[in-house]
């Protein structure tokens, strides 16, 4: 049985010469997700900022 497929998406796991699973690090598939999260923060803040400016001040 291989490693858990969900774990494989978060971590890099390899097998050594004796068939033992070895943790190699974080999965680099997460790199675009981290960048996308940064873009989401920027777009989210720009949208919030635009809405706040349109709202009349009391």
């Amino acid at each position: 049985m291989g490693p858990d497929p969900i774990l494989m998406e978060i971590f890099r796991i390899t097998r050594n010469a004796w068939g033992q699973e070895t943790l190699e690090g974080i999965s680099w598939d997460l790199l675009p997700i981290a960048a996308a999260l940064g873009v989401a923060i920027i777009i989210g803040h720009l949208a919030w900022r635009a809405l706040r400016r349109k709202r009349p001040r009391p």
């Binding site: 070895t22 943790l23 940064g38 920027i42």
Partner: protein, 213 residues
């Protein structure tokens, strides 16, 4: 009509020269470290290891310096996120020297950089350099895995938060902070927009006036 002339007393000091040098040195180091780590992953192949470990050493020295300076020689409490900061932000009260958003960004990016630095120093044992010989057997294989995971995860957090940090610094309404990080000062009017003069006067000797529990 001529614009009002700003006098020297209209300006207050936000960042000492040594803190600005630390900030920009750390910024360059973090950008170089992320570039040398992530560009090879996305397909830009180059000899990234020497650039990465040498820049990592520079960042380690800078982080150690900042840690000692801010905990022993400066008032650490002015950067700590207190429950009161959330109340102030929710009620629209002006902040002391640092706003809640600034404190949270510092806490997040500071933690990520610290974790990346500590794990990076451990990982130096796997690199052959003119200064030391590699020792890959320093830790068990499973422990190395945990070190790699922490290093990679903190690097990804650094990427997200650095993007946000640069974006916020470029916003027109926050440009005074960027100018203060370059030149050290901001006007009293700019400071008064987000900071309570009674809690942060901009006087180096008595800044900030924070009464925390």
């Amino acid at each position: 009509m001529n614009p009002p002339v700003q006098t020297a007393s209209d300006r207050i000091t936000r960042h000492a020269p040594i803190d600005r040098i630390f900030h920009w040195l750390t910024a360059i180091a973090v950008l170089l470290l992320m570039g040398s780590a992530f560009l090879p992953i996305v397909g830009w192949k180059f000899s990234w290891v020497p650039l990465h470990w040498i820049t990592g050493l520079v960042l380690t020295v800078a982080v150690l310096f900042h840690f000692v300076r801010s905990t022993i020689f400066r008032r650490l409490r002015c950067m700590v996120v207190w429950p009161r900061d959330f109340g102030d932000a929710l009620k629209g009260r002006l902040a002391a020297k640092y706003t809640l958003a600034q404190k949270l960004m510092h806490a997040g990016l500071g933690t990520a950089v610290t974790v990346a630095t500590v794990t990076g120093v451990i990982m130096l044992a796997k690199v052959d350099t003119p200064l030391w010989t590699r020792n890959p057997y320093l830790l068990e294989a499973s422990t190395w895995g945990v070190v790699y995971v922490l290093h990679g995860a903190s690097a990804l957090v650094c990427l997200t938060l650095t993007m946000a940090h640069i974006y916020f610094s470029l916003l027109p309404e926050k440009r005074a902070y960027l100018r203060a990080m370059i030149g050290g000062q901001m006007s009293r009017a700019e400071a008064a927009e987000f900071h309570d003069p009674k809690r942060w006067s901009g006087q180096r000797k008595d800044d900030p006036h924070e009464n925390h529990p």
